[in-house]
Each structure stands twice: as structure tokens, then as C-alpha cells.
Amino acid sequence: MVIESLGGDLFGTIPLGDIVLYLNPLHLFLFVTILLFTVLIAVSRTETQIEALFGSLEENEVKVGKKEFKQRRFLAIICGIATAGAMITGDLFNFTLFMALIGIVNIGIVSAVKQVSVLDSAYQYGLIAMMCGLPLFGGAAIILAATGTLSLFELQTLPLNAMVVFGALMMLVGVAGESGIAPFYASKAEMFRTPGSPFILIIHLSSLFIIVRFVEILLILIPVI
């Protein structure tokens, strides 16, 4: 499918030698939205959870320490910027690297938690993210080997190629694992059960944006559908 019919009218291209960036309304919208969320997260303070206790009228405050708060905010901002980069990029190479960055930053956001169950699921998610580095980078490498380029702007003009389809599907598995959607969600859902809400939410937000963007990339890479 041609790029114009996917994301609206093409505003223009930014040719940087091998890498050709292009701007269209869909990408700009996604980019600006995720940046706005990142700004909101950067200026917000972490929540304090109030837990009601069973069988009494007392309550339990769960607070996040200053050091942990700063570390999480930093990682959440990095995660937001990486997601914004993945939204605007017109290059499979950059997309792969931003995806890997999001995966490792997500592990970092939850690694400072003190609950055993959350640490357990963070460990499982980290293993999945590591294993999915293989299909992510491997898929990009197979597409590169079959076409000689990773620029989406050039990939859309090429005819259908079985190796490109295989590489794109491998990348789908990789993206699903790195962002923790689909079959790997069960372990990631446990990670939200921890105080420090606005920073934890960026994990979920980035995976939502990434999957929308990757559907567009799939449509560009596999022209029959």
C-alpha cells in the first residue's frame, strides 16, 4: 500500500542520504500526542496510594521515596521520547533501535519496586524482552538482506518479496515481545500493581502507540493487503 493512502497527504520528505524521513498527518499527530503526555509526566508528581485495610477503619499509605521517584521520572521521560521517535521515524532501522530502547527502559521503570510479585513479573518480562531482541533485530536484518535498504520510503516501491514478508512477521513477534502486548501481557499486567502511577502508565501508553505505528509499517512492507 502506498504511504500517501495510509497516513494522509505527504507534507514533505527530509532526505539524509540513506535515511529518508517523511512527514504526514498521522505521524505528526501521534508524535505530538506522545510528546504532550511526556511533558505531563515530566511535570507531575507521583501518586500516593491509599489502601483500605480489611476489617478495620484504618488505612495504609504507600509512598515512593525521593530517589526512586527521580529515577522513575527520568526513565519515563526517556521512554516517552523514544516512543515519539518511533512515531515520527521513516526508517525501519531507527524504529528497531527505538523499540529496543523502549524495552530496556520499561524494565528499568519497574526494577526499583520493592514488591516481590512485581519484581517477579518484571523478571519474566525482561526475559521475554531479551528473547524478542532476536526476532526484532533478525527481522530487520532479513528485510535488509532481501532488499538492500531499510528506508520505508524505498521499501514501499519494491514488489512483494517472500523474505520481506517473513522478516516483517518476525518483526511483529519482536515488537509484541518488546512492548509486552499479546501473549506476553499476562506478566506485564502484574507490573502495574505498584505505586507511582504516572510513570508506570507510560509503559502501557508506549505499547499502544507502538502497535498502531507497527500496523502501518506492516501495511507498507506487505503491499498485497
Binding site: 540513506d18 489502601e51 485495610l53 480489611f54 476489617g55 532501522f93 528497531t96 533501535l97 529496543a100 530502547l101 524495552g103 530496556i104 524494565i107 528499568g108 526494577s111 520493592k114 514488591q115 516481590v116 510479585s117 519484581l119 517477579d120 518484571a122 523478571y123 525482561g126 526475559l127 524482552a129 531479551m130 528473547m131 531482541g133 532476536l134 533485530f137 533478525g138 530487520a140 536484518a141 532479513i142 535488509l144 538482506a145 532481501a146 532488499t147 538492500g148 531499510l150 518479496n161 523474505m163 509484541a176 502486548i181 499479546a182 501473549p183 506476553f184 501481557y185 499476562a186 506478566s187 499486567a189 502484574e190 502497535i211 500496523v215 506492516l218 501495511l219 493487503i225
Partner: protein
């Protein structure tokens, strides 16, 4: 393989090496994943996960262009950083681990209500049936409520409750259905009805099994005090 994109001065022997190396990488990855599936100790799994990262490097390096080299470097760095981060998580978790067995849904409150003894089976059956009829998120909540009511009533009447530890896995797998429906909706719009039902029933199963998680949540909550 597209041969015309390979420059003329590359020897035929090097070109013919790509496919064996690709298969070799995939076989290495398969062996690593088999090892992870068999192994039970956490630290061994972490070490074996590195094997999948190694296979990723083999597949990327098989391409052998400068762009592939640019993919190898971040791939290597990301693998190393993830290994370090996960081992940190593992250490933190082992330091905080405290295992003890708890009963299903421990309740400090007295739940001796009439509804729990008169017709709980019928009510939960009606709730589950109505939930399946509704489908989607609402249906999942209604059906999950029915399941929770059934389990609670069995506990209060003193009957044994079957605890399925893999309820979270059902949630993850049905989330898969939702994602497949979502992808199909964009990729093949002519199958919109199929993707709509995939999404609806995936979400139904997901939310209904999430309700089953409440028992586990309560156990954690009770054990913390």
C-alpha cells in the same frame, strides 16, 4: 534471494553463505529456547537467554553490510544492558522473597449472607450466561462476577474450591485474540465481522479471568499484614 542488489565484486562463495548462516542462527536460537523451556532455575534461564541474543547477532551479522554492522552494535549493547538489568532484578527479588502458603480468598469479614447458601449456582450461571451474551468488556465483568460469586459461595458452604494457578495465562492468551482481531481489522477490512467477534470474545475471556485473579490479590493483601 535477490541477487541483483549485491555488488559485482562480492565473491559468489560469500553470497552462497548467507542462507546456511541464517539457518544456523535460527537453529542456535531454537536450541536456546528449548533450553529455556526445559530449565527451571532462574539464573540458568537468564544465562540461556543470552544464547538467543547470540543467535540474533549471528542472523544480523550474516548480512555483512555496513548497515548490518550498525545493527549489530546496538543489538550487542542492548543484550548486555538487559542481562545486567535482569540480574539486578533477580538479586533484588531473591533478597525480598518470603514464601508461605495461604488459603483461597481469606476473609476477615463474616460473609454469612443468605444469598451465599440459597441459590448461588443459579445466580452465577445466569450471570455467566448473560456475560457471554453481552461479550466484550462489560460481558467479561459480568461473567467474572458470576465466577467470583460461585467460588465464594463454595468456600462459605465449606465445599472445596479448585484453585487454578494458570488463570492469568488464560487472560494473556485471550488478549492474543484481541490483538489478532485488531490487526485483521486494519489488514483485511472485509473480515470485519470475524475480527469484531475475535476482539469481543477475547476481551470477554480476558476480563472474566481477570476477575478470577481477585482471589490471588486478596491472598497477597492478607499475607502482607
Amino acid at each position: 534471494m535477490v541477487v541483483d542488489i549485491v555488488p559485482q565484486f562480492v565473491p559468489a562463495f560469500f553470497q552462497s553463505m548467507y542462507v546456511p548462516v541464517l539457518y544456523g542462527g535460527l537453529i542456535v536460537a531454537f536450541i536456546g529456547l528449548m533450553g529455556i523451556a526445559i530449565e527451571k532455575r532462574d539464573i540458568q534461564i537468564l544465562i540461556l537467554t543470552d544464547l538467543a541474543g547470540l543467535a540474533m547477532l549471528i542472523i544480523v551479522a550474516a548480512v555483512g553490510t555496513d548497515l548490518a554492522e550498525a545493527l549489530v552494535l546496538p543489538g550487542l549493547v542492548v543484550e548486555l544492558a538487559e542481562t545486567l538489568a535482569i540480574s539486578e532484578i533477580l538479586i533484588a527479588r531473591e533478597m525480598r522473597k518470603a514464601e508461605d502458603a495461604r488459603s483461597f480468598a481469606p476473609m476477615p469479614l463474616n460473609m454469612d449472607m443468605e444469598i451465599m447458601t440459597t441459590a448461588p449456582n443459579f445466580i452465577s450461571l445466569v450471570l455467566i450466561g448473560y456475560g457471554i451474551f453481552l461479550s466484550g468488556f462489560t460481558g467479561g465483568a459480568v461473567a467474572g462476577g458470576g465466577i467470583v460469586l460461585f467460588a465464594l459461595s463454595r468456600k462459605i458452604r465449606g465445599l472445596p474450591v479448585v484453585v487454578i494457578d494458570g488463570v492469568g495465562a488464560i487472560s494473556g492468551i485471550s488478549w492474543c485474540l484481541w490483538i489478532i482481531g485488531f490487526l485483521l481489522f486494519f489488514m483485511m477490512p472485509q473480515y470485519w465481522l470475524l475480527s469484531l467477534f475475535l476482539a469481543a470474545f477475547g476481551l470477554l475471556l480476558k476480563v472474566a479471568s481477570k476477575m478470577g485473579l481477585i482471589g490471588i490479590l486478596m491472598r497477597e493483601e492478607y499475607g502482607r499484614r
